[in-house]
Symmetry: C2
Subunit: 656 residues, 2 copies
């Protein structure tokens, strides 16, 4: 390989189209931007492989004139003039011959009379027939299905189970398929540990190579994972050199940015051509594209003149999207497949998106069909939030240079689930509750997907008023009346008949560390200087409850240390306390129990499902409504501490 | 197993819903109609497997407060009041600590100032900062992605590559997945031979087990294929007994009807319960459903109290549809997956369908988007025509008891290809020509599917007039003017501006056996009593040409032996001659050459593509139009004998 040592690294984001162009042209110059070659394999191993050549029929099917019935083969002229009233007796083996379905038509025969249409006579040597038949009656003529030399399947076709049958029927026991692209994945990073180990703070479980290998495999490639390498230029260089010999593509996971421990660009530049360092795509921008040329003699294993190299960013979402953008199309070229034409859908964006200047951004969204239109709600944009990919129903690409996208805008979303799955998705927005996770599991058995996005109780009512959710989860206490939800529904949804359906009563209280080391007993203790509080976000029911308590006690927010520190769920509040980030937070008992924390109860609040009364008739929601009367479900909820299911299924109608 | 020998076999078609009900209830009574059980596997083997239990997070991700940048960690209070005009110097390791991205936030720190926002001073012991930051600035708080105890994935979820990352991130190195259903496939039939052998007439290559195994595998099961068994009750019985011990399902391929060599029903009845023999579905009706109970002691291998048995019909299309109707749903139950909700599409039926009385019929159709609507054209209904499944874009189910379905009816089609594939399908109806196969291969490289259905030249023009095709292939000679196609276009499409685009000139002639043993020289020879002719179907250009020749010579159709014997393509005509079914047929030279037959030329005819002139602007068709000027494509056609590409791309406009 060439040894033009680069002096250092740089990061120079270019548009992804330009990066792809540069990469594919460099590969082309080595003859590497085309199908990799083929291999002959047995049909029984061919499922899911890609045909490397058109398949032409070597044999007709059937390859002879075959009887289509059990019966007697004869020549149609023998039946001329025969009818019910003019039956005819035929001599077996002279005028007719018994055949089973699939038997070859005997010489001199051109039709088959089914056994049930004739009479077998007692002498066993003759039959009586009662009808005239045309030539080729009940015969499958040779070539009925496939005729020799006919095209059975084109090249570049992914072989399905039924194709196996057709290929075999046309006379082939083997098939020429595209060789699987071989991909090496080298995870680098001194902070990485095997996912089986329990990581210390600062250590990161290495799972990107697992995920990338899964992507390679599902796209038709063959992935080999290297052991984790420390951030050491020489060991990375050695591994890349070794991997390049036997693989079509070497992926170096992490170290692709421009930090002090980022060696990927340097290694690629020192071994071959560093084509691209940095692509203007978020998440994912520190991407490296390069190519390593083999010296003569080194290419015996692969017969490739060169090997492609891709440096993949370390954040998991960035890694997955980088693979999607650069590796999937490359594998398709190598397999002889057409570029993917992903399914798209028009949808309405629920929330305003601010854009990162200059970069194209790939926003993960949930999708749901509400009130006659598809709505797309953005998920977390963090490159480290892999659950945003797991939960995503689609990807919305904000083009580079866009100032932002307004709420309510019509957007084009690349869908990641089938229409059938999406149309059965129940969107529950609003307040977070653990029972929704249990509900999701039960509904999955009823062919419903529960997609719950936590945006706080008031956020849920607003989403409902905008037609962005089927149901809002809400636990909003009105301090003046002591009533839950109803006064807020009147305020946020004044013109719509609304139904409140009881889900659970749940204990709200103060979540503190085990054994309550700071001796916190009541809200007033939060004024102490040694107590760090963690708050919930504005608009959440828990935040309203807390503010209500503060105002009742005449305490200002500023008097509480950590008042501006906001978390979005009960579990992240509990997690903040468990980790020592805070000493106390307000939340439900179940969250404290889950993380083995102490709990000081304050309130038993009413958590209700809120929806337009018209939704009572939606077929989509019936399994959810039924669930509220399901004793197995109730018992599952009661197993979580701090829940009371006595109000489950109670309905309150609120008319405008 | 029980030994209630049945005296014989019967075939009693019942609706498929009733058959399924009987089958599932019998399996339920053995506790066999639920998920089969689970196994713990390493994540690296889990792609495509189905979660057996909900996955709850065992660890938060990140599991500590992590720096989101390379820079200096500090406590946000250190930055109070700092600005560009009021910078501050901090002592390294006392007031701030250097961290890389992903490092744990040191004790006492709650924010990170990125390296590019600070000034490193020469003493190497201090930095200067220029801005105030809030708590948790550039920190990924513990649990940002996943919080311990949170639901990561529900049960019954098919694991994707990104899920592997999320499962590992949440602290699992292994995952509990549904055990793969084990299915034995026993091919039976004395007429069967291995597909590698060259079958004699009456022998059938055994490929149904290959296709069924592929189906099982793509549905998440594990298939084991048995060697071919002859039609012998005892050997089938022994194999079923042996297979039942180690499998959840035993499939017996063929022999499921009620013929003299059909032992499946008898074997099932003798070993266990024969629940269903015959289902009112076409293709597919001789289906057997049963269950074998294990005696105590025999179930050690599987722990199953019983084994399901399915007898699958022998015709390949019947076999594939039987698997689709009964085995796929059973595997989904066993894997803990919800019933499949197949994608459906509304379409307009192109041709009238006559129904088989009483039976539900599964019609394979091609789909295309023409003039703003989806059209569905039925393919061959033969149970032996596996290419009808390979070519099918969708399945239309005609309910039992329907009299028939009219042409133009709005129907619901279950689609077998993605919307993106279907929308890129070019429908060419009309006359068959071998060049269309070559064209299909070239267009596949341009992301277009060419779907050509042979309905004869006049059929193509009629389809065009009804908006059922994008293009018609036509070679219709007008005997009066000697012109091709134009007079017919005027007649069949009087109101539409039409373009004729030249494809090829091709030699039409008489196809005869090698060395022309009957000494056929001219059309007149077809009047000879010893010459059997094979004709093309009415409405085909070749039929018109033949009839034109006959009338010129004053010969009546009845004078030609075989005049009423019709084939639908050039290749099936040639195949009829090659097999000795006929001595002569009219067709193109390429068909004769393909099957190594002799050819007596009669005519050089003009084969043209016919379409509404408006279609010239359809983006869908541009790659096809471009192809007609592609020298590589022209050369590929010239390699076939009997073609002249000089007219390729010539355009003639016909205005109303």
């Amino acid at each position: 390989m060439s040894e033009n040592h680069s002096s250092g690294v740089y990061l120079n984001d270019i548009p992804k189209e330009q990066a792809w162009e540069r990469f594919s042209q460099a590969l082309s110059s080595f003859g590497l931007f085309k199908a990799l070659g083929s291999e002959f394999i047995e049909l029984e191993n061919a499922l899911g492989r890609v045909t490397a050549e058109p398949i032409w029929a070597r044999r007709s099917s059937p390859h002879y004139h075959a009887s289509a019935m059990d019966g007697f083969a004869l020549h149609s002229t023998e039946t001329e003039g025969v009818s019910d009233r003019k039956p005819k007796v035929l001599e077996i083996d002279r005028q007719c011959v018994y055949v089973d379905t699939g038997d070859a038509l005997p010489d001199g025969c051109d039709a088959v009379l089914p056994i049930e249409l004739i009479e077998q006579l007692d002498d066993k040597q003759t039959i009586r027939i009662f009808q005239a038949v045309p030539p080729w009656f009940n015969v499958r003529p040779m070539g009925e299905d496939i005729v020799t030399t006919e095209l059975v399947l084109p090249a570049g076709h992914t072989i399905r189970a039924i194709d196996l049958g057709a290929i075999a029927a046309s006379g082939h026991a083997q098939v020429s398929v595209a060789r699987k692209p071989r991909v090496a994945i080298i995870p680098t990073g001194s902070e990485l540990v095997h996912p089986q180990e329990d990581p210390l703070p600062g250590q990161i479980p290495e799972f990107n190579s697992l995920m990338l290998a899964g992507q390679i495999e599902s796209w038709g490639g063959e992935a080999q994972r290297w052991p984790i390498l420390p951030d050491n230029r020489e060991s990375i260089r050695t591994a890349v050199l070794e991997a390049a010999l036997e693989h079509d593509l070497v992926m170096i996971s992490a170290g692709s940015s421009a930090g002090s421990e980022d060696f990927t660009a340097d290694v690629v530049a020192s071994l071959g051509q560093l084509l691209v360092h940095g692509v203007a795509v978020r998440p994912g921008h520190p991407v490296i594209l390069g190519v390593l040329e083999h010296n003569a003699g080194q290419d015996e294993e692969t017969n490739n003149p060169a090997t492609a190299v891709i440096g993949v960013p370390g954040y998991p979402v960035s890694a997955a999207l980088t693979a999607d953008i650069f590796i999937q199309p490359l594998l398709r070229v190598w397999l002889g497949l057409n570029p993917l034409d992903p399914p798209m859908m028009d949808a309405t964006l629920t929330r305003k998106l601010h854009s990162t200047a200059g970069d194209e951004e790939h926003i993960r969204v949930t999708l749901g069909y509400v009130s006659g239109r598809w709505v797309a709600a953005p998920l977390s944009r963090g490159a480290g939030v892999i659950t945003s990919l797991v939960r995503a129903d689609g990807i919305f690409v904000v083009p580079a240079g866009t100032q932002g996208v307004q709420a309510g805008a019509k957007i084009q979303v690349r869908t990641l689930r089938t229409h059938a799955e999406l149309i059965q998705t129940i969107l529950v927005l609003g307040s977070h509750d653990l029972t929704l996770d249990i509900m999701a599991q039960y509904l999955a058995e009823q062919s419903r997907r529960l997609s719950s996005n936590n945006i706080g109780s008031i956020g849920g009512l607003v989403a409902l008023s905008r037609g962005e959710a089927h149901i809002a989860g809400s636990h909003l206490l009105d301090p003046e009346t002591g009533e839950y939800n109803k006064p807020y529904v009147r305020r946020y949804l004044p013109d719509t008949p609304i139904t409140l359906m009881g889900l659970v009563k749940r204990e709200q209280g103060m979540i503190v560390a085990p054994e309550n080391p700071k001796g916190i007993r009541e809200i007033r203790d939060l004024q102490r200087k040694d107590v760090r509080f963690v708050n919930r976000q504005k608009g959440s029911g828990t935040r309203l409850l807390f503010d209500h308590h503060l105002s009742t006690l005449g305490i200002a927010g500023e008097e509480v240390r950590g008042y501006t520190q906001e978390e979005y769920t009960h579990l992240t509040v509990a997690s903040a306390v468990a980790s020592g980030k805070a000493d106390c937070g307000l939340g439900i008992r179940a969250a404290a129990t889950a993380l083995k924390l102490d709990f000081i109860p304050l309130e038993s609040e009413r958590y209700e499902l809120v929806f337009p009364t018209g939704n009572l008739d939606l077929a989509l929601l019936q399994p959810l409504f039924d669930l509220l009367h399901d004793s197995k479900f109730k018992r599952a909820i009661e197993l979580l501490e701090g829940y009371d299911v006595s109000i489950m299924g109670e309905m309150i109608s609120i008319d405008p």
